[in-house]
């Protein structure tokens, strides 16, 4: 097995970043708040990579990615709370559970809706996102633990730098290997021309479902990490606007570009949180205006992403 083939630079880079972050964290050079934001960057990158697989590589336009992020978060938080698994060693299992739950749900709804194309699929996934949000809002009727519209409180804090780092780097390598395998090639074929894909023997339905489920699995794992980082979940964390955030990161970084998604995720979180520091508190909410403006400008001048060399030709 050559899992780490062509990964040496990546691993070295990751190790370097880890050591720097660990030093910054442990000598109290950066505040608790910045530490949390740093871990959050990894989570956002992981979830956005999932959307990149779905949209950037396979061309399946999804406006409901945050719903799967939420499903992962609620699943893991619920398992930890009801089963009392409040040790760091149980975390990998509940992360996996969160991811698998998100992937399974994606598989079930993907079977009917993935036949839709482009904007129709966008609307269907948007609808599903709203459905999940309403479900979270009323979740206290199923189990008091889930908290409904009051939010899911009292989640054990388990997410730390190490686990986030290892999980994210591992899943990024898994994703890269998948992308460079025949599956990634079929996904890109489907994005390019679905009819031609079928004509050379690609089972397009199955491949689209696989990309969608895998991308949502990544979102689910990211959501589970998120739940145990912030220890509080609210349905509004997983609504339509959050899906748009992931979409912007994918577009910003360039469709079908994992390195781009990483950079865009860092920039994105840095930008939002940076504005929080820079802007006076009475105009703080204006930062949500900058983001859509950025998106509009991006579409006008760099429709293939900030990191892409390809420029739009109008």
């Amino acid at each position: 097995m050559k899992f780490f083939l062509e990964s040496r630079r990546l691993i070295l880079l990751a190790a370097g970043i880890y050591i720097v972050l660990k030093l910054l964290f442990s000598f109290g050079i950066v505040s608790e708040y910045i530490q949390q934001i740093t871990i959050y960057v990894f989570i956002v990158v992981l979830a956005a990579t999932g959307l990149n697989v779905i949209y950037g590589y396979t061309g399946q336009f999804s406006l409901g990615h945050a719903a799967f992020y939420g499903i992962g978060a609620y699943t893991s938080a619920y398992l930890v709370k009801t089963l009392g698994l409040d040790s760091v060693f149980a975390l990998p299992a509940t992360l996996l559970a969160g991811g698998i739950m998100a992937g399974l749900v994606a598989c079930v709804i993907g079977i009917p809706i993935l036949r839709l194309r482009d904007d129709f699929l966008g609307i269907a996934t948007l609808g599903f996102g709203i459905l999940v949000r309403v479900f979270f809002d009323n979740s206290d009727r199923i189990s008091e633990t889930l908290g409904g519209s009051r939010g899911f409180t009292g989640i054990v804090k388990l997410t730390n730098l190490e686990i986030t780092f290892v999980v994210t780097v591992f899943l990024l390598i898994v994703t890269r290997n998948l992308i460079s395998s025949r599956y990634g090639l079929f996904w890109r074929c489907i994005k390019d021309d679905e009819t031609a894909s079928a004509s050379v023997g690609i089972d397009t339905t199955r491949m689209k479902l696989m990309a969608f489920s895998y991308g949502c699995f990544l979102a689910g794992v990211a959501g589970a990490l998120y739940a145990h980082l912030y220890t509080f979940l609210h349905p509004s964390n997983f609504d339509f606007l959050r899906s748009i955030d992931f979409l912007i990161i994918v577009i910003l970084g360039g469709m079908g570009n994992i390195a781009g998604t990483i950079w865009a995720g860092v920039l994105w979180v840095g930008f939002i949180e940076g504005l929080r520091i820079v802007l006076p508190s009475n105009v703080l909410d204006l930062r949500w205006v900058f983001i859509p403006l950025l998106l509009i400008m991006l579409m006008m001048w760099r429709p293939y992403g900030l990191m892409s060399k390809k420029k739009g030709n109008g």
Binding site: F3, L178, V200, G201
Partner: protein
């Protein structure tokens, strides 16, 4: 005509199409159309624009669902199978308006087709097992062989969409061959080509057929091409077969001259 089951009693129909029907909004595009192709044969389908030729291809390869009729491939009923299954059984096609994977490289266009028939699991892909690496290497080698054969060997890393038109046509043919087909359906390979390019195409198609042991059905407008290469020609109009025969018979037929060739036979 009674073309029986494949192989057993020496019957050699590669493809049998029986009373195929398809309407679009009340217009009968294909109206009870039947034909067969024998193993190793090259069949040309000609007819005016809108005669229903491409629709027949789309019905055989199941990109359209037929309203009625049956299709047998090597004796096996295939009318109900989805397009990707037909490709894996050995039916390859090219498209009238070219459908390459434009953003993929020339090489990837071919390896993707090769890899549909040579599988390894997602886990083999993630953990890069020996099997995965071997299959990927074979896919590249096979693709390079095909590209060299069709004179595209130098362009392997170019995006397919950046190739000149004639090379895109050849690449599409190479991609169809990469699935190791037994039957090749070609839709207007000579469209947009000058007489010189048509000459090259005739040579290429002959070589390809010989080398890959193919049965070919070809839709074509260029008389020079279709008359030159077909063993048998079938003439279509208004979704029906109006006649069938050898190139020289078709050339002489009055109905064909009127319906299709115009006043002057070519």
């Amino acid at each position: 005509m009674g073309h029986g089951s494949w192989g057993e009693d020496g019957m050699t129909a590669m493809l049998e199409v029986e009373r195929l029907e398809k309407s679009f909004g009340g217009v009968r595009a294909v109206d009870g159309f039947s034909f067969h192709v024998d193993r190793g044969e090259t069949l040309g389908i000609i007819g005016p624009n809108g005669a229903g030729k491409t629709t027949v291809f789309n019905l055989i390869t199941r990109f359209y669902t037929p309203d009625g009729g049956r299709v047998r491939f090597m004796g096996k009923l295939i009318t109900h199978l989805p397009p990707y299954r037909l490709a894996r059984l050995g039916i390859a096609r090219t498209f009238q308006n070219l459908r390459l994977f434009k953003d993929l490289t020339v090489l990837e266009n071919i390896t993707s087709a090769h890899l549909t028939g040579h599988s390894y699991s997602p886990f083999a892909g993630i953990f890069r097992t020996r099997r995965h690496l071997r299959i990927e290497r074979e896919a590249r080698e096979n693709a390079m062989m095909l590209l060299n054969f069709l004179g595209l060997g130098e362009k392997e890393q170019a995006p397919a969409g950046s190739l000149p038109y004639g090379e895109q046509r050849r690449l599409e043919l190479a991609r169809a061959l990469a699935i190791r087909p037994k039957l090749l359906l070609i839709d207007e390979p000579g469209a947009g080509m000058n007489p010189r390019e048509i000459q090259d195409l005739v040579i290429t198609l002959r070589e390809v057929k010989e080398r890959f042991d193919l049965t070919i059905v070809m839709i074509e407008h260029q008389m020079g091409l279709v008359m030159n290469i077909s063993d048998r020609i079938l003439v279509m109009d208004f979704g029906e077969k109006i006649m069938e025969g050898t190139p020289s018979e078709v050339r002489k037929d009055r109905r064909v001259i009127e319906a299709y060739l115009g006043e002057e036979p070519v």
